[in-house]
Symmetry: C2
Subunit: 287 residues, 2 copies
């Protein structure tokens, strides 16, 4: 057992977790964890910040996330399984009082668990290897230039619900490890295969694997439900503000749109993606 | 021309707008406007707060919104038509400097227009009259117990895009005039017929008008695309956290669910509603 400024090390035998107890926000370790909410700190540390029992559980179950620290505050726990999860993950555990936890949390109602974890590979080389090994035949989603973390997170959550396994994010205007992507995805960022690259490279891999690229754009006359969405397809969506990239606009195999009524000039990006992904399900399942 | 503390009254002949100029946040008029972001102040004043060129334009075009004040800050304008809109609306105009405007705004990037307007009728009596006069045959959306303003706003925006005219909000856990409902709806709150009531009363009116109530719940075995969504139907969705109310759970004509894969246990409420509304379009339009 050792002691240093603002820290207490203790082994809690009862719960089987050994943890460091920190009670001051000026502690360097806490500052480093809290800083990971910002992109520049994530990039220099190669670590990201994830919060919430559900998200951490799913990151752990995915097998692809290597944890560094696990911050916990039992006063905030909402369930019964938090301690078991901390034990199972085996990362360096740090106990903090509720007030301190709330200061580090980015949620309105924190549930007492925050983790830091190492970046995992999201490059296209990794994607290509995985894709070829798996001889993927599942539909794939391509999201270009996405700007809003909440939108990307919702897209990932919906993609998982719709049975998609792979989401390729092309030239995004956000950081994939943004805590709001993780939150809105409810952890689907970990359970899905999510990769990052340039549209041109993504198209090249998809074409090599005999995928049809089907791009959604309001100018297309064909409606999405009149398109054949079976087989090896990649659905391609452009950014909230600018739509499809020039490359996708001229290199996709087919184009279609969603019907739009009233004074609405567009749907939310995540909504459009969800509607078309569920049409893929319908075409595959309907009797 | 008159002058009082912190206010200057001027007639800008060039633009044809007469306005009051206020430069101090401690001015009572500004405080009253800013307060309308909070429910208690909206309720005691019978007024709501709406921000943004697009939202104010759509509120004006709807014909159902009676404006009180129009706060503007030309330094924040993003377009060319703001002055014309202020002139056309003819509400009491108040000019404020950018810094003051940003203080009152609830947006990250304010576009220089904020209005206050009188509540418009959203009760079921008004709905019933309108419904019977119109001999409505269009599909209707019923949203029960909704908690998140952003969800309701997104639902309204999507409902408009999907060609729905009427959204009935049953026993919500939010205020319909919450600025975040208006923002996420991009103004669809004004262009659609949106009414508020209790599920039981809503069902009673729908049944009198020979509408079928089709409720979405994860326990139902039937999938939404296997249901007949043509004709006079009301799609019913429960709250984010609790799902359908006990009344809707036992008094609807049919029940169905959305298929769900992976570890996802649910979709976002707005997403589910959007997916099913677009299936209504597909069944009506597909060749």
């Amino acid at each position: 057992m050792y002691l240093c400024i603002g820290e207490t090390f203790a082994l809690n035998d009862e719960q089987g977790i050994s943890y460091l107890e920190i009670t001051s926000f000026s502690n360097e370790k806490l500052k480093n964890i809290s800083n990971l909410k910002e992109k520049k700190h994530r990039e220099s540390a190669g670590l990201f910040f994830l919060e919430g029992y559900r998200e951490i559980l799913r990151a752990h179950k995915s097998g692809k996330v290597r944890f560094q620290n696990l911050l916990f505050s039992p006063e905030c726990f909402l369930g019964e399984n938090e301690t078991a999860l901390i034990r199972e993950i085996g990362a360096k555990a740090i106990k903090v009082p509720k007030k301190l936890f709330e200061k580090i949390s980015y949620r309105d109602r924190p549930d007492g668990l925050i983790a830091t974890a190492h970046f995992f590979p999201i490059d296209l080389d990794t994607f290509q290897k995985k894709f070829q090994t798996h001889r993927n035949k599942k539909p794939v989603l391509v999201i270009e230039g996405v700007e809003k973390p909440g939108n990307l997170g919702t897209i990932l959550r919906t993609a998982e619900g719709a049975g998609f396994h792979t989401v390729l994010v092309a030239d995004p205007r956000l950081d994939l490890f943004n805590p709001n992507v993780i939150r809105a995805s409810t952890g689907a960022l970990f359970s899905l295969d999510v990769f990052l690259g340039e549209t041109e490279n993504i198209y090249s891999i998809l074409q090599k694997n005999e995928y049809r690229t089907l791009a959604v754009t309001p100018e297309a006359k064909k409606l999405y439900f009149d398109a054949d969405l079976k087989g090896k397809i990649a659905l391609v969506f452009g950014s909230e503000q600018y739509g499809l990239s020039p490359y996708a606009r001229s290199h996709s195999d087919e184009y279609f749109s969603l019907p739009m009524y009233g004074e609405a000039d567009s749907l939310n990006l995540a909504m459009s993606a969800g509607i078309v992904m569920y049409e893929v399900i319908r075409q595959g399942l309907q009797k």
